[in-house]
Amino acid sequence: MSTTIVPGRQAAAPAPSIAGNFRSYIARVRGGDMGALPAILGLIVLCTAFAVLRPVFLSATNFANLFTQGAAITMIAMGLVFVLLLGEIDLSAGYTSGVCAAVLAVVMSQQGLPWYVGVGAAVLTGVVIGLVLGALVAKLGIPSFVVTLAAFLAFQGLLLVLVQEGTNIAIRDPVIIAIENRYLPPWLGWALYAVCVLAYAAVQLVRARRRAGRGLAADPVGLIALRVGSLAVLGGLAVYALNLERSRNVLLVSLKGVPVVVPIVLALLIFWTFVLRRTAFGRHIYAVGGNAEAARRAGINVDLIRVSAFVICSGLASVGGIILASQASSVDPSTGGSDVLLFAVGAAVIGGTSLFGGKGRVLDAILGGAVVAVINNGMGLMGYSASVKYIVTGAVLLLAAGVDALSRKRAAASGLR
């Protein structure tokens, strides 16, 4: 590549353009910073394969199922992103969600208190669990692997205590049930969609204008249009598909609309993305994950950041537990157990969050959660047993961790992270 230096113009800062952005993205990917690329490619491949093998995969009913089946794992994965960003792990997140779901069930079904008290108690339980785990890791210095492995066992027992050694507590509250089993009216789905797309466009445009106004490099309008356009198209397709009639017998019951859980997940995604990308607290989480010693010297309270990451993780796990309770309409000793945790860790890692800390986004949990949900759902449609599902999901998790480790190696070699 030859460059001619134009007199009077700084050659050091290339004017931002779509082509330039695209080139730097390619360079990043080649340098080992794959980001969400494996998840997106995996999603395309998996969806195509399942759609060809089992056409029912593409049906409106199944599409809606993907969202309700993946929601709880996605929620837990969102929390795990925070812990993984610090290079820590929370193996107890699955059973934390189970314990919180049991607290919800006990408060509501056995004490007869209203749903908001139950939700408050469940989230509070999650926060307290996070505080304890975080304090043990940050203050005592026990490796998070050991702390949360111990908690994994202990919470299993706690869950049994809460559900009285194996009874099944039913949940009948219409509000909690609605999360996974009710749908927004189609007009509300479209209204939410419009608000989201317009707000996204506005945020992007305002930021670019402000930066350009101060003479700083800003994203070109074309790139913003491309981003907003893709969001509009993908979101529009999703809302359209979810608004199709899914009921076998329309006269009996009409079944259409965006599942109630979707806006809940989206709201938390936007909130935590904001916290992570736009606040000093989020910046400090990345800093502690990248170089804890540097963060300490910069005056960041590293212990506080550690503890709060565990609190956020367990807090979001409690929301995941509420979703699980809604999905099953009950809580039993296996709620949040077996594969939930590994699916959640898998979701975060498949989405592109590094197990080595310092790299990851909340959005990764959504993308990875989608992959896990598609595998789970598609394999179910193919008629494979749970055994095969476990093996395949385990293999996918290992593959994602392998991609993570390899890209890290490659990045170290090419000098990009």
């Binding site: 402000r210 490099a217 736009r278 400090h284 990345y286 990248g290 540097a294 910069a298 790299k359 000098g415």
Partner: protein, 258 residues
């Protein structure tokens, strides 16, 4: 140059348990000058710097800053006075970009939200002020920078806050020839911009290239504080290795016995 030093340490003692590491150490640093702090391994350079920076608290001694006696008990105190230390291992976060690293722990914000535009402007201004032209974009991740560029970022981070004293711990130890020259040039520019610079170095070539004064530590004692133009290479080597050189240095001291 200037008559009153920005930073003056008098009679500083520091012990770790039964081991006294610093004996009555004096040190001065003047604005607009590079003071080289030399000494053999174990002479107490790092301990002295950590006492100045507030990481350690001195057992005894006076700490005078800008003519006022001050008390430093934490790194925050030192930073508030305008004393910044650039450690050898730089302490940068690889996964953050240059601007994010420069403002780490002291982010500018408007309300709750980070004020990226202001931070970017200030970082660009600081780098321009130091005539840094080697980085392509200040939004580059630090992981993509060379050793010299990282050193530059670490130094720029230290001067971003209108600091008055910048202490550099072996800034050229891990660098190649060209990059060493770049960093030394930057060190000189810091002093020319009016800062008091304390440069810790093992490399006497570097010391003679940029410093105005040399302070030589020998087994926890300040052997001599001299003008660089008044001494020769050989004299400094003697001061480092035996604590004295002719008239200079510790006269009646042989080793640790006082």
């Amino acid at each position: 140059m200037s008559s009153q030093p920005v930073l003056e340490i008098r009679g500083l003692d520091k012990s770790f348990g039964p081991v006294q590491v610093l004996h009555h150490v004096d040190l001065t640093a003047h604005a607009g000058e590079v003071t080289a702090l030399v000494g053999d391994n174990g002479a107490g350079k790092s301990t002295l710097v950590k006492c100045i920076g507030g990481t350690y608290t001195a057992d005894a001694g006076e700490y005078v800053f800008d003519g006022r006696p001050v008390h430093i008990t934490s790194p925050r105190d030192a930073a508030d006075l305008g004393i910044e230390i650039v450690y050898q291992d730089l302490a940068l976060c690889d996964n953050l970009d240059i601007v994010q690293n420069m403002f780490l722990g002291r982010e500018k914000r408007s309300g709750l939200v980070l004020d990226e535009a202001t931070m970017e402007e200030m970082a660009a201004k600081t780098l321009d002020g130091l005539s840094v032209r080697t980085v392509k974009s200040i939004r580059q991740l630090v992981s993509s920078l060379s050793g010299g560029q990282r050193q530059t970022v670490a130094i720029a981070k230290a001067v971003l806050w209108n600091s008055k004293v910048v202490i550099l711990d072996e800034p050229t130890a891990a660098l190649g020839v060209a990059q060493t020259a770049q960093v030394l040039e930057l060190v000189r520019r810091l002093a020319d911009n009016g800062l008091a610079v304390i440069l810790i170095s093992h490399n006497l070539n570097d010391v003679f290239a940029v410093s105005d004064r040399i302070s030589a530590l020998y087994l926890g004692r300040m052997a001599a504080q001299v003008k660089t133009s008044d001494v020769t290479h050989a004299q400094v080597v003697e001061l480092i290795t035996s604590g004295r050189s002719g008239e200079l240095g510790l006269q009646n001291v042989n080793g640790v016995t006082a």
